[in-house]
Amino acid sequence: MSILIKNVSKTFGNFVALDRVSLEVPDRVLLALLGPSGSGKTTLLRIIAGLEVADSGNVLYQKEDITDQSARDRKVGFVFQHYALFRHMTVAENIGYGLRVRKTPKAKIRQRVGELLKLIRLEGLQARYPGQLSGGQRQRVALARALAAEPRVLLLDEPFGALDAKVRQDLRQWLRRLHEEIHVSSIFVTHDQEEAFEVADRVVVMNEGRIEQIGTPEQVYDHPATPFVYNFLGNVNLFQSRVVNGKARIGSLEMEVPEGTHPEGQAVMYVRPHLLDIEQQATGADHFRARVKHINRTGPLVKIELMTEWGDFVNVEMSQERFRHLGLKSDLEVFVKPREVRVFSATGRA
């Protein structure tokens, strides 16, 4: 079931939660709405579910306009961040609830509940109450409950937010596999980029009620469209520079601004730590001087913190082999050469 969102806006008092958002979710895709808190991602999800009413704009499933349909009639499966299981019902009653309220015959409910218990690997626990389950088990019951009535779309609000790291990791992979099995269009909200990249086919980055970028995880990570996306995805060095005649300058560094982006004047240069090369000798003008300040050798990559010639700190990552080859030590002066940069004008977009 494809979902189309057209020009949806929503305000809460003076706060603009969504500002003319449009988005198309193709059939059978697992899509992540990624953004910081307050970016409007949960509001968008709730509007798709019918739990919130948009001030303006339309929501369409397939080609049917369902903007004015209530949550009950939309046939969506919604998974809440804190599960929202019915405490006074057993696991089986919880899962069967959506079928029961739609007047499904008892035998059919029992059969479907059995299937879902198998799917979420909780056979034998159907008589338990939610209070007797672990967090991860509760989340799976919530998912089974949402899936029971065969929803047209599955919506998940920070589905793993309240779980500890290990369980979260397991559930992510499980959700991925589950999606491959059942193929229902799914949208999940997260503020965790790693989660979005690992689970989703498609990532939508949101900020302040607007969509910043839509793309596959690779597209979004490798080619961030806006300074916000660069920043939000983390691990990036910012250099305040000046662009003159298509060349960005800072300190002794002079770099060609990539084709098609020519923000003359004050600009910010974004470089990822692994796209900075450290060398002992200077070659050309596309480098700057820096002094090694701190070295962290734990993990597969060596993380080095340097002080640039103009007094900023910059982070560089390199392989252990490269690090050994260079023989870097604290307080050593080196030359840093960016392999790839993005330049955005200091005031706005590229």
């Binding site: 579910a49 019918g50 739990l51 209530s70 949550a71 009950r72 939309r74 046939k75 969506v76 499966g77 919604f78 809440f80 804190h82 929202a84 299981l85 019915f86 405490r87 006074h88 019902m89 609830y97 959506g98 309220v101 739609r102 109450y129 939610p130 209070g131 007797q132 409950r145 949402a146 029971a148 009535a149």
Partner: protein
Amino acid sequence: MASVNRRVLPGFSLTLGYTVFYLSILVLIPITACFFKAASLSFQEFWHAVWTERARAAYLLTFGAAFVAAIVNLFLGLLLAWVLVRYTFPGKKLVDSLVDLPLALPTAVGGLVYSSLYVQKGWLGQYLVPLGIQGAYSRFAIVLVLVFVGLPFVVRTVQPILEDFDPEAEEASASLGGTRWQTFRNIILPTLYPALITGFALAFARGVGEYGSVVFVSGNMPYKTEIAPILIVARLEEFAYGEATAIAVVLLIISFSMLVLINLLERWSMRYEH
């Protein structure tokens, strides 16, 4: 050191000591005294005192009226709590504080006001009595004042639970296809059961023990509108202390067994907690 105290807050033995002490002085000793006094009668005398036709009518009326009033309060209280929690309207604070009034008002005042309102010449009675509704000096009158004195209990036990109710559970029900009524019936109401039962039990117990207001509205006609506490007073006025306490003991036993029953019901309604 013989024992190590692992509790965070000290004073367990002290507080438990006080609890037992006060419970004894306030509850256990008077009740025991009651049983001892009743034991001064022979079984024959006891039976004769507590199982007359008049006494049986009084028990039935006492518990029956208290039960009916508590049932009315169950629905009324739920409705009031619902309105107070779910909606905002002008004067909400006032309504909220009015709920407690029956607790603060001497019940005799309540009884007097009710009887003067519902008598044949009263403000309401002049219209109701011709319709055959006897709001004073009748069993209906007793239920009416018991509803009044028991009103706060269900409201005050249900209100906090309703306030804490997770709105997401309601949304979950709606997104799963539940209608408003199904959501209320299947999701909200069951979580209120323990509070409703507690409120019911309190209102019921209050109704059984009520004396001050009932005296004024019931007319105290033996076999008809005489509740058991009034029967006790009648026996006392005849200086039949042993008989009076015997009736009290019967009331005590019935009340206690009903409270035990309600407690069991409450535990059942909370079976999913542990």
